[in-house]
């Protein structure tokens, strides 16, 4: 307990007596860190134990069965898996170009003094709770879709065969657009950091060669930030895959494969939200199996994203704030 330079009696600090031996300290920290690993393991184990009976009772085929009819013991989750993929594709397909453009604007093109406040503004989109997104989408955006957006889109793009059916407002398209708004801040924040971190000597070299601003952006900066942008893209995808409440409110909740973009659909998270409360027995196991599949895909996507973003960090770029 003796420490060199021990204080003179009158000023003995009570807290010095609480100093723990170094080994205890390291063990304490190790335990704290281990909680995370333990949580993750417990999490996966809990999901898996509830999901395994589904596989033992139904085999694996229910994962691609397209008939979801629990009342008659049909548990095909394909419509929901496809719905999840479709909404994610729409969201990311919109988020990548618009997010990249926004990130470029925030990193290089916007007036210097406005860059920080505008960046904060875009990132505030991430601060809106998802239930508020769902409500706003249902009450404010769906009517707009039904009366304006969907008819316009159908008249312009109807030839693709993707836009058949009545204009309901709610449905796959609306869910995709709301998801796009929700993942946009993630995409923009990371892309902006990564784009701003491209080494300046390359930029200056290009400018010395007479490149215009856009040529510099397109040929030097964006390729230079390639890996980090890929990380942003995968992170946005991971976020879009797991979003629950907002999607459940605007997607129309159908148990069938959506025949068109304007049709109702379901995603795995929205399926869980609407049927978890009443599920029991095999249906409950199937829900857990679906959640497990979603989890595994989400883990894979996220792990990939972090690998990309961290490799950018380690290569010496400025610190990247990962959402």
């Amino acid at each position: 307990m003796s420490i060199s330079g021990s204080p003179s009696p009158g000023t003995a600090r009570r807290t010095w007596r609480l100093a723990v031996p170094d080994r205890t300290y390291r063990i304490l920290l190790g335990v704290a860190g281990g909680i995370f690993a333990a949580l993750l393991i417990a999490f996966v184990v809990a999901m898996a134990t509830q999901a395994v009976p589904a596989f033992s009772k139904l085999g694996v085929s229910f994962l691609w069965g397209s008939n979801w009819d629990p009342a008659h013991n049909h548990f095909g989750v394909l419509p929901f898996a496809v719905g999840t993929i479709e909404t994610t594709v729409i969201a990311v397909a919109l988020a990548v170009p618009i997010g990249l453009g926004t990130a470029l604007a925030l990193a290089y093109l916007a007036p210097r003094r406005l860059r920080a406040p505008l960046s904060t503004a875009v990132e505030l989109l991430a601060a809106v709770p998802s239930v508020v997104y769902g409500l706003w989408g249902l009450v404010a955006v769906a009517p707009l879709f039904r009366t304006t957006v969907e008819p316009q889109l159908t008249s312009v793009l109807g030839w693709t065969g993707l836009l058949g059916g009545p204009n309901q407002g709610v449905g796959l398209l609306l869910a995709g657009v709301i998801l796009f708004i929700m993942v946009l801040p993630t995409m923009v924040a990371i892309s902006r950091d990564v784009l701003a971190a491209v080494p300046h000597d390359q930029v200056e070299g290009a400018m010395a060669l007479g490149a215009t601003r856009w040529q510099v952006l397109r040929k030097v900066i964006v390729p230079g930030a390639r890996v980090g942008l890929l990380g942003a893209f995968t992170l946005a995808t991971g976020r879009a895959l797991g979003e629950t409440v907002a999607v459940a409110l605007v997607i129309g909740n159908s148990a069938h494969l959506a025949p068109s973009l304007k049709a109702n659909a379901g995603t795995i998270p929205s399926l869980i939200v609407s049927s978890f409360g009443e599920a029991s027995g095999t249906q409950l196991n199937v829900l857990f199996a679906a959640a497990l599949v979603l989890l595994v895909v989400g883990i894979g996507v996220n792990a990939l994203a972090r690998v990309f973003v961290r490799s950018v960090k380690r290569s010496g770029a400025a610190s990247v704030t990962v959402a």
Partner: protein, 426 residues
């Protein structure tokens, strides 16, 4: 780190101890510390203090408000003479308990109002009822996470068998009566439509897809119907309202019986919009023009929906109302939890899509105190002078007298943990 003030002179030599920060290098700043640390540390300490103050005041606020009973606001009770049945007055003296119930959205408006009124008269008891859908209510009840469940269709024998053995059986108490309307949102058509069973089955099966389909126009001569496609709205969650509606369709249409059948969830066509809860369906109908869906009467009236007059067995077109639902129920006085369907009854004034809603409780309560409060509340809920007085104001039909008797007889069978002593003191 400051030098302790006392050590101004050396212990043995008596020479003054030099302050190495000031006297050794007098040109150096008096207190060399990391440039920003003190300010930020002070700021951080200030921030911590503000946080502590805020938490403390929040804590005090909570303590103050937590001690106030939920009856702080003025309660507008509609019950006049609770002394009309002296037994009910005794109910209200039941011991304190905090009960939880989950289930049907069909009954949510009347339940929440009734339980609120009960709590304002009997501050020891609060009944927290959450409308999660009949199916989820049954599951929660079987899982033991709530004191009672509520479902528009009683538990089937298979579900009863799944209940925990500790329950000693499940008792099902009828608690309210309501009608399922066919509400629609048809801009420009303000008069009530007439629909009959095959037409309704066709609309919801998707075979009748436009509003000006010949089947509909045949029933409604003189009404100009648009050629818009029909958007049907159904329940995405497991629902007793769906059961009552599909029970009706099952009875009247062999094609429906062969197809989706009846149940708390059935397979709807792909074009049908699924929404959660009676309120979700009501919301979808309200916001989607040219839509039609099935919602409980209270929700239809609250949203000022137009709803269809349905053709009953006697051949008359009847709109759902307290009177017509009551007439339908009166046609079948002997209801029980195994024989509960009252759809499509005879009588010219009967509204054919009606049903009771049931409360599910364990026969053997695990705690005498909680059990006593539970049966007292349910007894109050199911009788005139008690909860049934709330019904009419919220567009529910009060239980017929014989059903109230059935409710009490069922509640009398509830026992405490010992399995023998009835908890309802008569």
């Amino acid at each position: 780190m400051e030098i302790p003030e006392k050590a101004k002179t050396h212990a043995t030599s008596g020479l003054p101890v030099m302050n190495i920060h000031t006297e050794v290098t007098p040109t150096v700043q008096q207190t060399p510390s990391p440039p920003a640390a003190p300010k930020s540390r002070k700021r951080a300490t200030r921030a911590t203090r503000v946080l502590a103050l805020a938490t403390a005041s929040a804590g005090m606020l909570l303590a103050a408000c937590g001690s106030s009973s939920p009856t702080a606001s003025t309660s507008t009770s509609t019950t006049t003479a609770s002394g009309s049945d002296p037994y009910l007055a005794a109910d209200l003296k039941a011991g304190g308990a905090q009960l939880t119930g989950a289930g049907s959205t069909f009954v949510q408006p009347v339940f929440t109002k009734a339980f609120y009124t009960y709590s304002s008269k009997n501050s020891g008891v609060t009944v927290n009822y959450q409308a999660v859908g009949s199916g989820a209510g049954i599951t929660a009840f079987e899982g033991g996470t709530v004191n009672f469940g509520a479902s528009d269709v009683p538990m089937a024998a298979a579900d009863v068998a799944k209940a925990p053995a500790a329950y000693g059986g499940v008792l099902q108490v009828p608690d309210t009566l309501g009608g399922v309307t066919l509400s629609y949102n048809l801009p420009g058509v303000k008069t009530g439509l007439k629909l009959d069973a095959p037409t309704i089955a066709g609309i919801f099966a998707g075979t009748i897809s436009k509003w000006n389909d010949p089947a509909i126009t045949a029933l409604n001569p003189g009404v100009s119907l648009p050629s818009q496609p029909i958007t049907t709205v159904h329940r995405s969650d497991s629902s007793g309202t769906t059961y009552i509606f599909t029970d009706y369709l099952n009875t009247v249409s062999t094609t429906w019986a062969a197809g989706p059948g009846k149940g708390k969830s059935v397979t709807w066509p792909a074009s049908s919009v699924g929404s959660a809860g009676n309120s979700g369906v009501a919301g979808s109908i309200k916001s989607t023009p040219y839509s039609i869906g099935y919602v409980e009467l209270a929700y239809a009236l609250q949203n000022s929906f137009t709803y269809a007059a349905v053709k009953n067995v006697a051949g008359s077109y009847v709109t759902p109302s307290l009177a017509s639902v009551g007439a339908d129920a009166a046609q079948k006085p002997n209801v029980s939890s195994t024989d509960f369907s009252i759809v499509n009854q005879a009588g010219s004034g009967s509204y054919p899509i009606s049903g009771y809603s049931w409360a599910l409780i364990a026969k053997k309560q695990s705690s005498t105190a909680t059990g006593k409060s539970l049966v007292a509340v349910l007894d109050w809920l199911t009788h005139t002078g008690g909860g049934q007085d709330q019904s009419a104001s919220l567009d529910y039909v009060p239980l017929p007298t014989n059903i109230q008797t059935l409710a009490r007889q069922t509640l009398l069978m509830v026992t405490g943990p010992d399995g023998t002593t009835p908890l309802l003191t008569k």
